[in-house]
Amino acid sequence: AMPEEPRKRRSRWGEASQKMELPGLPTAISSTNISQAQLDNYAIQLRLEEINRKLRLNDYVPSERERSPSPPPTYDSQGRRTNTREVRYKKKLEEERVRLVEKALSIDPNFRPPVEYHQQKRSLRPQE
């Protein structure tokens, strides 16, 4: 357990021992003969893969020190809470994925969105 010290501002850095590895997507990359646009596109691609993975593994709630303050609770008509931490962070990532796919498509019309993106689009029909 971490010793309790006078509350220091949280750093945004994750542990050096917990590096993320995504198959086929190197993180230390060469910039030789690579355009700015190619670099930025690659960042989109990697982020999409990262989001897919987080959602697939249900690994989207940040550790306690990385969390932002919770908004007041909201409930549906059955009295079930609708904005739990899980719901909020999941929604945030899904929304980011939609933005990223749209951006990637605007750059490259042949871009193939992840399967999950289509599933999500289908499930985004109004429910509430």
């Binding site: 750093s11 945004r12 850095w13 590096k19 993180t27 230390a28 060469s30 910039s31």
Partner: protein, 136 residues
Amino acid sequence: IVAVDLNKEANGRVVLMLNMVVAEDLMDDVEYEEILDDIRSECSGFGQVLGVYVPRPLKKDKSRWDTMDPNTMSPAEIAKADEIAGVGRVYVKFSDTEGATTAVRQLAGRSFAGRTIITTLMREDDPDVQRVFPNA
């Protein structure tokens, strides 16, 4: 896009990091300063840091308002301007190549606010580097 071979490409002092920040993180002044602090303190562990450059969105970057006025621009135009300015990128300049290559190696794949960092070493004569650190 291929993995860097630092034995062949170790000729630069500027590290570019991607997938580390997004425009919305850079709007608030306090948050922006915290981000700069976080980057500076972590990178200092790899070598002497000469400069950290994190472009801000046009709405928060008054130095660009002499040529562009975000109040008269459409959201799409603002987004385009931010893209050209490199919003979302993080540049760190080290005093020597060794610090930069160590940072490229060590920071790749690290998480920053839940995002996995991509690192790359930039050549000194890269026009983008010259723009970011003009008096180098």
